[in-house]
Subunit: 245 residues, 6 copies
């Protein structure tokens, strides 16, 4: 099968969904930087312009997101669902996101986690993406009949805050310690200037990544939570320890 041999030669693309203009950067920006620097294409789909936040106009938020995505080596687009703080879970949205997945055809998909005790838009978007990743495989869906079905490789959840980390899933930790990765990630977070002035968002994320790193005996790490068990060809793929204490 050609597709599979190709996927071993050339990394599939990564698609990250964010409910607000800064969610991807704060939740897993270091992972994006690492993957793009390793040659993987990354694309962001952002589902509001942050218009319900306390700080920043929609125009500012969009500009910040564009600048931040560029710093991480990713392209970015905005789609309309219900607007910031107004997101509803509906089949129409699921199908819309499945359409995005069929168009972009990513291997890796990142979405906010399903833990509900956080900004309501986050968990709702996570649900929509999880269901969309499934519907995109079904051939008979009439709304998407013109676009070829697509099966992603894996869906990972990221957690915008520690509270959003799903307790029932063992995470994988991505080592983001390299100085060029950390500085790209930090710059991307700081590009969301309208948000970072008011609260300690950047410090929250760097503290979190440092704590993950200290526990694993490395510099900084970001946790991702796989939606399904990982399939490995060999243990050589995962032979680094995550415990130093």
């Amino acid at each position: 099968m050609k597709r599979i041999s190709k996927s071993h030669r050339e990394a599939t693309s990564l698609l990250a969904f964010g409910a607000h203009p800064d969610d991807i950067e704060f939740g897993c920006g270091g992972v994006i930087a690492k993957e793009t620097r390793a040659g993987r294409k990354a694309h962001f789909v952002i589902c509001s312009r942050g218009e319900a936040g306390t700080h920043g106009t929609p125009a500012q938020r969009v500009a910040e997101a564009r600048k931040s995505a560029a710093l991480l080596g990713a392209t970015v687009e905005f789609i309309e669902l219900d607007g910031d703080a107004h997101l509803e879970v509906s089949v129409a949205h699921t199908i819309k996101l499945a359409g995005v997945l069929r168009r972009i055809r990513p291997g890796i998909v990142l979405a906010p986690s399903l833990v509900e005790n956080q900004h309501p838009d986050h968990a709702k978007l996570g649900q929509l993406v999880r269901d969309a990743a499934r519907l995109t495989r079904y051939g008979g869906l009439k709304e998407l009949r013109r676009v070829r079905p697509h099966a992603i490789e894996q869906l990972f959840f990221y957690a915008v805050t520690p509270e959003a980390e799903p307790p029932g899933i063992t995470p994988v930790l991505i080592d983001v310690s390299a100085p060029k990765i950390m500085s790209a990630w930090t710059a991307a977070m700081e590009a969301h200037r309208s948000q970072t002035s008011a609260r300690s968002y950047v410090e929250l994320q760097l503290t979190r990544a440092r704590l993950r790193g200290l526990r694993a005996g490395i510099g900084h790490a970001i946790a991702l939570f796989p939606n399904d068990p990982l399939v490995l060809d060999s243990l050589a793929q995962v032979s680094r320890s995550a415990r130093r204490f």
Copy 2:
């Protein structure tokens, strides 16, 4: 750092612990076959001669284990703890196993899972190995002062039966579908002739691996349960999906 560059050139060795002569084969024999065929050294440490089982003499059991290990490409040794169905969790045993770990110096360690609702020896050995993997790092342990401390890369638990699969850990699935792997594994299980005559052990394991495989859209798969989160350098290491239904 020399050690790390080396570990990228040459796989570290694998050490699997079994409470009885057939536990490793039934719980994760396909993984052993896959790793040894990929060039990794594997060694088995078996902690009883199966002397409390309904079938087979200790001498038969040892002979079966030696034949089975050879079929999987692994070396094997027997150590004395308390004997079959008599295993106790004690610090003396933990230190003895830590001594084994310092002698063999494996990267990957496999041990039976900690779920208690199975043969009592299994979970107890799992506990002993987990604690031993930690003590082997501590420099001041007087009983082991003559052997240099050692830090393993990762401890994975295997489950001898489905009941032993730990519900709180997301597994990784090892694809063992290749015919040569499946036939080596099956032969290794059948080498335990004294056990396979009486009950459907081999069918249990093949059914289990087939069910894991069907779910993931491949032939057969075996689940391993990491003791600590996996640390990755890149998502490229884990980009295969585990869901087909």
Copy 3:
């Protein structure tokens, strides 16, 4: 109380809900065969015609479902909610299903499990049925004022795939090993010819039931997950062991 004495003489009827034409058969068809052969009436309510699937037209799917239900000894009806892959959880649907429950007046109700990481329609239908089973007891519901309230005996969830098995509920296992039960179940699954050609659905379910059976020391078994604890008059009702390894 007359009703109760009667329920001891004559089994109450069973009502199974499916989101798609083949869900009941694949998820718990063997249980249906066993109950109808023991004299219990069984009725299926199917909530779509499978029109979003990759294979099979709605007309084919309906015909397959009718044939399959007949093989299991059940009657079948189709109701309209939102259509395949379009199901939404809403109070209107809940009340519609409560109306079905008041009309059929079953003792046992079967519905797909609430685990969300599966086809989205399954968990949504499970939620609707769970809530409907409750609303059907409330006397003041204006939409259903003309139909007498009804209290079911027990709601059991079935899991269409292993991923859908709810981790927090201890299942009961139904022994479906008898050859006539197994052949009726297999025939019922194979009656969904449009679906079975493309993927290993039948093998998935038979492998799953065999694994459950092997673990319990019997031939084949299907797990059902009770929504509420079972009330027993005596331990004699449940005195068979489910562990052979």
Copy 4:
């Protein structure tokens, strides 16, 4: 198969283990009364004389236990392990209890739950019984070579207090509402006169059983927690609902 047909004609016996002279009565005395009144034989094995309690001498405690067992229709014996508040989990004890199981050859076994946040002896005895129920099946155990192996039907855990109810197991509820059952149970608890004077033990258990009963729409109920999934021949065995609110 003769054995099975017989087990349908004649209930297997029940064996309940208690760490202290009153544990069985307080934890599940109503179930014992119900089973013995339905014709099942019941036997108690008590593993201390309550000598570390604040109230009552060992001789009093033994006399109370004998009187209480008689009120419940059960026979009783005392065995020596390590003494009240001194119980240790050891293989020697496990084998001793396995020997008891081979001698009594019960179908149903009751033991205190494994939740550790209670009197330490309770959970330890639960562990010993769980492991003993397994070892009693193994033919090669040298200490028990003279006694034929035995496989029990099911192990249920009882909880001496609400804190001891295991959160991960769905219980079955035994209806103990009948006046003759309730009065036998109450009398059995009150027979432990040295204990009931000081604290509200009897009220605790009656309140607990009433709350379980109210929830299920019956008078009083006692929860038992199966160690393994129940295997059923038919849903007719379990078709009573446990929810009234």
Copy 5:
């Protein structure tokens, strides 16, 4: 900071949400009585008139709720969402409740728990309140632009029945043993005369509170489940034990 010093001098107000006219009283009425008798203001927001219940007209239910709130020392208001047994989770409702929160500006908020296996309105209202408590902090929400944002101190969930108690949250227990508290609570429950005639609601709650109390060595207690960890200035705030058995 003035606000904080003031909150140490004068208790913030309490706002309790109920889906039906009697939910607050049955779920946590004793806590309300205790807090109002200690000088805290309490207000109830009730989101239906119980019009789908088997007993009682909407007018009766409203009158009962007013009388009951008065007995507990609380004020009460009714708001319209979708009506009894018709509640849907929607952003419009969330924003409406956030508007209530900004108007009342409570410190403590009480809402029904999120466990879904109960009357569907309860868990849905709990979700709405949880999300509303978050949205009420966001400055940019256009629908609420005219009302100043507000941050509550803590959201606690109450459970209308034992089934609704969330298994994953450690509760805090409020001691309601004082005779004047118990009699106010009992009177408040009995004020819902249309409901208490038909089922054992009052007995259910008193039995439940007595069981909690017995376990903690006090008279009666009610469990509340915090949505977020409690922040303490000193362990002196929580130094009472909750275990007597």
Copy 6:
């Protein structure tokens, strides 16, 4: 009741157990500093001299612990169990610790958490203390007959590392942000000079406390995990929110 009124005038004493000379300081030193500065007496019982560690002699370790306890305002004693990395769970040890509890008669007890995937001594000491806190209440324990029984107020677990935080218990967070508390805690950790040179222990704990603080909108916080639900007289005791993101 005099005892209770007194406990409202004068805080009961706090007793913290540590398996190694630095566990208390690293796991919850800031809490100790806060409590002693608020006038509560604190005493440490340390159960080894750290003789199996890679760095530091027993004499150094003891001296460091004495200095550190003094910086936190606590007294300290060392007891012999089995020695560092050799701790076994036994009834003899439980009774020895119960004897300590009867001698010191604390209100609050702190012990390492029961999570097993950490230094084995930690969880074992946690188990011993939990059981000892129970046995210390029993009047008939012959080994302790000369010392009056004692009931503690509450047992809290601390976690020496993030991995040791028990996932099933909702923690309480102690605000340790005040500069004098933070500097006392930091000095106490740094007093363990033999340990802090080699690894980032101090940074690990400060990062962890900062992350807890950031999440709660305060400076730094330490999580404690109650063994039993907290009993409150009023919600005023716990009315601070723990969520800022």
